[in-house]
């Protein structure tokens, strides 16, 4: 059985996928993961998960470009220019 190994290098850092080991069960996977990803004290924490338990998602559908909840849905340059013209002002220092 293949077990995926996730490791955390230091406290505060996210767990990241590090690799995989082949083992007959969780007890062996524990030993083998700890050896391959921790024998030099290079990890503070490991998560091991049977590969079959991992649900993989790699397709994300956005056919209608739903940008109302993203920063790129808010191009304000033109509106700002018009508003400043109307108020007879120029851009303050530090503003785009």
């Amino acid at each position: 059985m293949i077990y995926e190994v996730f490791r955390q290098e230091r406290k505060g850092q996210p767990l990241q996928h590090a690799g995989s080991v082949e083992a007959p069960d969780g007890a062996f996977a524990d030993v083998y993961a700890r050896e391959q990803y921790g024998r030099r004290g290079e990890s503070t924490s490991l998560w091991i998960v049977p590969r079959d338990s991992v649900i993989e998602i790699d397709e994300f559908v956005d056919e209608l470009n739903r940008n109302y909840h993203r920063v790129d849905g808010y191009p304000l340059k033109e509106k700002l220019r018009e508003a400043r013209e109307r108020a007879g002002t120029t851009a303050p220092a530090g503003d785009r």
């Binding site: 059985m1 293949i2 590090a18 690799g19 995989s20 080991v21 082949e22 083992a23 007959p24 069960d25 062996f28 050896e35 391959q36 030099r40 790699d58």
Partner: protein, 299 residues
Amino acid sequence: MSEREQAFLEYVQSGGQVETADWMPDDYRSKLVKFIEMHGNSELMGVLPEREWILRAPTLQRKLALTAKVQDEVGHSQLIYRVVEDLGKPREQCLDDLISGKAKFHNVFHYPTKTWGDVGVIAWLVDAAAIISQKALLKCSYAPYARIMKKICWEESFHILHGRDVVLTLMNGTDAQRELVQEALDRWWGPLMQFHGNPIPKDDDPMYVWRIKSQGNEEARQQFLDGYAPQIWELGLTVPDPKLRKSDEGVWEYTEPDWDELRSVVTGHGPKSQDRLDLRRKARENSAWVRKVVLAQAA
């Protein structure tokens, strides 16, 4: 080349990376598997020349360091074979092909280790030559392989230091100890110069074209000489090539390596090729029952 393959080629040549489940041209996949498999085989076979010296290490510190170094190499083969398996070729099949001679491993692991001097020279110079190639693989277009290369390079960092430490201690020691280093270097120089392969132009090398390798063979060899010829000479050691020098243009010149020897060795005719494959085969046969008990039960 089909349109799809052409697009893929442009993608990898502009730095694009490929994951396991992505579509890839058949040629890319087969060259990739062969390349990575050879690397895995090399790490596994590389263990054998050094193993004997674990038992003869002259201090507890050296014993520990050498055991840890060889352990790392086994660990690397595990990482690499996992990548190959995820590309579709199971580990057992890789080992079958290695033992039968169908698959290859790097030239340096076909030669004998004769003294403690070899232990130092191998860890210092052979590992250095390997690391140059490995650093270039950090940019491999196939992402899972690039990722394990990061771990491999990080672990290799102590190997070279250990090697240099062994060599420096010998060079600062008795005349007999100094002689061990020179004698070993004289024997290893030829294989070292052949290690990076013959100077095929980058653009004629499919490995480079597909961006599996990001460096040509000659580039790697020049890098090796740049880094290590000075380190060798500063210890008062000599290299058995009177032509070795850096030209005014900054290019290293040397006697043409024996490419026939490389070809012959890599196809299983090296001095220790068959002995070592035999050892692998016997160890594997002897422990087949263990794998059956441990892995079959889980199936």
